[in-house]
Amino acid sequence: MRQYAIKRIGLFIPTVLLVTVIVFVVMRLIPGDPALAILSADDAAYTEDELRLLRIELGTDRPLVVQYIDWVSGLVRGDFGTSFWWGGPVMDRLGERIPVTIELAVLGIGLAVVCAVPLGVLSAIKPDSPIDYLSRVFTLVGISIPTFFSGILLTLILIRSFGWLPPLGYADIWEDPWANVKQLMLPALALGFYDMAFIARVTRSSMMEILREDYMRTARAKGLAERLVLSRHGLKNAVLPILTISGWQFGRLFGGTVIIEKIFLIPGVGQLLIDAVYQRDFPTIQAVIVIVALSIVVINLLVDLLYGWLDPRIRYA
């Protein structure tokens, strides 16, 4: 296990470095000179001196390598730079937004797993039954509908049939936990809809494969109750691919939160990113992208380590 962990972490470090390099290249090199962009915004007049001073202030007069190292060492210390937009540290606003998005994503993947696994198992143990057909249609539809449309449809159904209205203000979880969960339930459902369908599909196929294994027949032959056969020998072995997929999907969810937060007016990282794009606030965009990408790299590492720990075949492969 230790060897496997070392090997896997050995792959992790260059990936982390490359992620920061890619973000730096995209956000710093492509847009050209940020000082020029700030000064020439709205076609304002400026002098060469102003331009030079602003470059020094922003630190863009230094060589790119120095700027990169400076930025990365800031990242390590939790300093994400100063926003062009409100002039304060990016971390101030980002810090408030991160818990909201994490809560949304955890609720989303949680709802997805809780609904998808039983659905997939039922579907696998009774193939071609009405439940199986229902679940197969559901997964096909769920995989094809884009995140934003499932959110809109859910809202529409609730408005039309229950007269429900989306709440406008955001309730903080520490102040009013019940209102907060009530508010996030629907967005979380819309966010996890695709994953629910996807995980149900993986559960079904993984479970069906396991059901054909010899040890399942052995377990039944020795007289074990069907419930125990399915849970101890079936699901326990089917859970590995489900776990891996859920982990990967959890990372992917952070992309979906951008859309869901916009539809449901949730003040999370996604909203901050969109607002920063409207304001052309590059330090904030850069910070959000790098944080999201690095979280995904870390989640993937944890999933892989967990996978290796649970399944010895992975370790020795």
Binding site: L11, V26, F149, V258, I274
Partner: protein
């Protein structure tokens, strides 16, 4: 066969081979299409939906007169927020523009961005994938590490960053999509080439002294064409969703051009008073993407069953 006459044996073997060759159906392109439609009816229906969408986009672009109304005309209907009815089949929007005309015109951006980004992205990705697998060594390792790192970015978030620095326009959305589509394509094609590289015919070609370029073009490329077509189809649906998401967020194509994503934004804002503004563009995107995915699955099963379940 118990006779030991070697001549007779050879004749029988030759006959059997000829028979086998004859048994192979010699189909014309049309017959192949009919056979595809018979074995994959859903795939064929999907293909028709995709073709109709492409046709609608091209025709409405070349001859804007076929649209019932000018998609930008705010006086297309007397009233704003007209529910669907004869004459205004999909209703009118918040300015009195015709929703149906806007929906058809909106397909232009989806198809233009989708086809161009996938055409360039998957081709480029396939070439890099072939080179990476064939050359191997440090080159392959470097490419794979970059691909790994690129895969860490959720597509929408990377697209938002790229569009923010490049500015919002259809062509910049295409560039952002290229960056997003490349890593996945490189990875799939590379893994295919890695196994093809070890097959006997590649070794045989090397043994008779074929050069690297000849092997890549004559022996490897034809064997990844199936994956290339399947990947192209499946990523087309993905590209259309990303474009729609960017337009939905108001950062992709400029808002004065009708797009499905942009129409959906308006629809979400007005969802309490005008359900049709949210539902029709949403259905358009879902149906087209659904059809593309189905077509991709059907093509995969037909062209290369080995890819099933990937």
């Amino acid at each position: 066969m118990t006779t030991t006459n070697p001549g007779q044996g050879a004749t029988i073997a030759a006959d059997a081979e000829a028979q086998l060759l004859d048994m192979r159906p010699r189909q014309t392109q049309v017959q192949k299409l009919v056979a595809f439609a018979r074995s994959k009816p859903l795939g064929a229906i999907s293909a028709i939906i995709v073709l109709l969408t492409v046709l609608a986009a091209v025709v409405s672009y070349v001859v804007p007169g076929v649209l019932p109304h000018d998609p930008l005309d705010v006086r297309a209907h007397e009233d704003k927020y007209m529910p669907p009815q004869p004459g205004a089949w999909l209703g009118s929007d918040h300015l009195g523009r015709d929703e149906l005309s806007r929906l058809i015109a909106g397909s232009q951006i989806s198809i233009y961005v989708g086809l161009l980004s996938v055409g360039i992205g998957v081709t480029l990705g396939a070439l890099i994938g072939i080179l990476s697998a064939y050359i191997g060594g440090a080159f392959d390792l470097a490419i794979q590490r970059v691909v790994d790192a690129m895969m860490a970015f959720p597509p929408i978030i990377l697209a938002l960053g790229l569009v923010a620095v490049l500015g919002g326009s259809a062509n910049n959305v295409i560039i952002a999509l290229l960056v997003i589509l490349l890593p996945g394509t490189i990875r799939v094609i590379r893994s295919q080439v890695l196994s093809i590289k070890e097959l006997d015919y590649t070794l045989a070609a090397q043994a008779i002294g074929a050069g690297s370029i000849r092997i890549m073009l004559k022996h490897i490329l034809p064997n990844v064409i199936a994956s290339y077509i399947v990947l192209g189809t499946i990523t087309l649906g993905f590209a259309i969703i990303i474009e729609a998401s960017l337009s939905f967020l108001g950062v992709g194509v400029p808002p004065d051009i009708p797009t499905w994503g942009g129409m959906l934004t308006r629809g979400t804002e007005e969802i309490r008073i005008a359900w049709w503004l949210a539902v029709f563009p949403g259905i358009a995107i879902s149906v087209v993407v659904f059809a593309i995915n189905f077509l991709g699955d059907a093509l995969r099963d037909t062209l290369d069953p080995r890819l099933r379940g990937r």
